[in-house]
């Protein structure tokens, strides 16, 4: 009977390929959406769990996307006086503060590692942001020739890395965060300041704001559990000319944006799937009637109504299975493309789903889509199984 199913599908090749194609598109969209959604959800969850900053303070007038500042070091050459750290620390309701110093992106002029990585100066003594991502014991100090690498910074030697012509000892590699932190090189504040001080393009900044040794780029703030965050923000603004950003609002906005994105794309995927299934249903419904004489012939051979139903459902299942498998291959490509886009714009924190998760959704999709395909053919199959066997005697030639 399998041969009969296979031959029939091949005989109606164009019709079969059309349905396989539409199912494949639906499956590709659903697979990539599920994979990306899982990656972003995990990234968001990790960020919530480990990025303890309740408020991110940037220089007044900074127009960078807050999510870029929140989820890692943005390549922003904006600075403010380091004395503001003590002022913020003194605000009532502030539990902890830690400063960071951003250098420029290393992509343009770094021939040693040659990617989109950026260097961030941080203060290990006051830091609680980066510590949870470090696999080894948290360092309370970092020397000027030491570096902590983000999870996706490429390295060719185990212990050392050359950055802008200087060799650094790698003291730790952070876990994957799904954020720009994965592409960051974390050095001491002094070292970060030294690196930018030699950058001629920033000379105007130093002339205006003073030498890098007296500057910072951001202050990350953790507030007391019982503190009124709006009051804390208001008090911080009294300390000096700064722009406090409430992390929860940023995270919520990102989550909302992603939810809209997921609903939109997921909706398109679902509609594509629904269209495919309706197409499948319509095709098999029509075929059931067009092939009455053929079913009648099988019944004359001794086939039962159940056999006819199995042939119809079997054809639908084979088409759905083939479409699902092709769709998964297309979906993998779509997923890779989506990742490239996400990484290019860093709009959302992202953690790669495990192979186990990807395999399980692939298997799940195959089962669900094959099942739905078979289900779509169920009514036509039921009708086909009830066809009057005498049609073989009365109908004209059949295809």
């Amino acid at each position: 009977m399998l041969l009969l199913i296979w031959k029939s599908l091949l005989h109606r090749r164009l019709q079969s390929l059309t349905i396989v194609g539409s199912i494949a598109v639906g499956v590709a969209i659903v697979f990539s959406i599920l994979a990306v959604y899982n990656g972003v959800s995990s990234g968001m969850e990790l960020s919530k769990q480990r990025m303890g900053a309740d408020i991110v303070i940037v220089p007044f007038g900074e127009t960078l996307e807050p999510s870029l500042l929140l989820f890692g070091g943005a390549a922003a050459n904006s600075y403010m006086p380091k004395e503001l750290v003590d002022g913020v620390r003194a605000v009532k309701g502030v539990h902890a503060v830690t400063p960071q110093f951003f250098t420029h992106s290393l992509s343009a002029d770094c021939h040693d590692i040659g990617t989109k990585n950026r260097m961030i100066g941080y203060d290990p003594a006051s830091d609680w942001i980066l510590a949870p991502w470090l696999k080894k014991a948290h360092k309370t100090e970092i020397k000027d020739d030491e570096v902590i690498l983000g999870a996706k910074v490429p390295v060719w030697t185990q212990n050392k890395i050359s950055i802008l012509g200087k060799w650094y000892n790698i003291i730790a590699i952070a876990e994957e965060t799904g954020t720009t932190l994965d592409y960051s090189l974390l050095v001491s504040m002094n070292e970060a300041r030294r690196v930018v001080s030699s950058d001629g393009t920033l000379k105007k900044v130093w002339d205006r704001m003073g030498p890098p040794s007296g500057l910072i780029s951001t202050i990350l703030v953790k507030v007391d559990d019982d503190a009124n965050i709006d009051k804390v923000v208001s008090d911080i603004q009294e300390v000096g000319l700064m722009k406090p950003i409430v992390a929860a609002e940023v995270k919520k906005r990102i989550a909302d944006q992603f939810t809209v994105f997921a609903i939109l794309i997921g909706g398109i995927g679902s509609l594509t799937v629904l269209t495919s299934l309706l197409h499948l249903f319509s095709r098999f419904y029509t075929l059931t009637w067009e092939r009455q004489a053929e079913w009648g012939l099988y019944l004359a051979f001794g086939a039962t109504g159940r056999d006819i139903g199995l042939v119809i459902v079997g054809e639908a299942a084979v088409v759905s299975l083939t479409g699902s498998i092709i769709g998964l291959l297309l979906g993998s490509g779509l997923y890779k493309g989506s990742l490239t886009l996400l990484e290019a714009y860093q709009s959302f924190p992202f953690v790669h789903p495990s192979w186990g998760f990807l395999a399980s959704i692939a298997i799940g999709i195959i089962i669900v889509f094959t099942g739905l395909g078979a289900l779509a053919a169920w009514l036509p199959a039921y009708q086909g199984s009830r066809i009057d066997p005498s049609t073989v005697m009365t109908r004209g030639e059949f295809d």
């Binding site: 031959k7 109606r12 004489a293 099988y298 001794g302 039962t304 009057d388």
Partner: protein, 226 residues
Amino acid sequence: MNTLLELRNIEKKYGDDVILSKVSFTLAKGTAIAIIGHSGGGKTTLLSIMGLLQRATSGNVLVDAIDIGGLDSYQLAKLRGQYLGFVFQRARLINSLTALENVMAPAWFIRRGDKMEQQAKDLLERFGLSHRLDHKPQELSLGQLRRISLARALLLKPPILLADEPTNDLDPALAKEVAECLLTARTEGAGVVIVTHDPNLANQADQTFRLEDGTLKPIVYNNAAS
């Protein structure tokens, strides 16, 4: 028991139209019965009832002494697979299958496909089609299609062979060949029922009936049942 198929007082109506009325006859092993009659006279309907493809309005159909009146569609299908072979008015081949696969198709539904390939090839060789095994129906001539259809009907060696206008549209030589093949099945113990307009074919049957005004009348008796 010699009787393979028995019809008792079969009546068939479509609404108020009476197609068959009080039709009775028996088909014994190793005999051939021909049924003639004008077009639209109910011959195909009668053959459908004999082939368990449709039910009579009243009366009894017995296959190998089994009254089919109480059987459901599943049991009827099993009985068809076990007892009946059909040669249809047109070849009725499946275009997606090759000649060999078409001959083997009935065996697939009784789960004997894997054992019947050689028999199918032998039959096609017997009908001079061993060089056309892998050809699709659309690549074959009308005569070849008819022979494949006949091979398909004979594959499972059914005890009852029902043929609906088997020589219609065929040239005399091919018609003779098809007739010989059908009637040869008698020698293997099959009962053959042929619905035909062809007087030559009807004359070769052991008994001939004319279906007229819904009733079956014996018109010729050619020779005794073997």
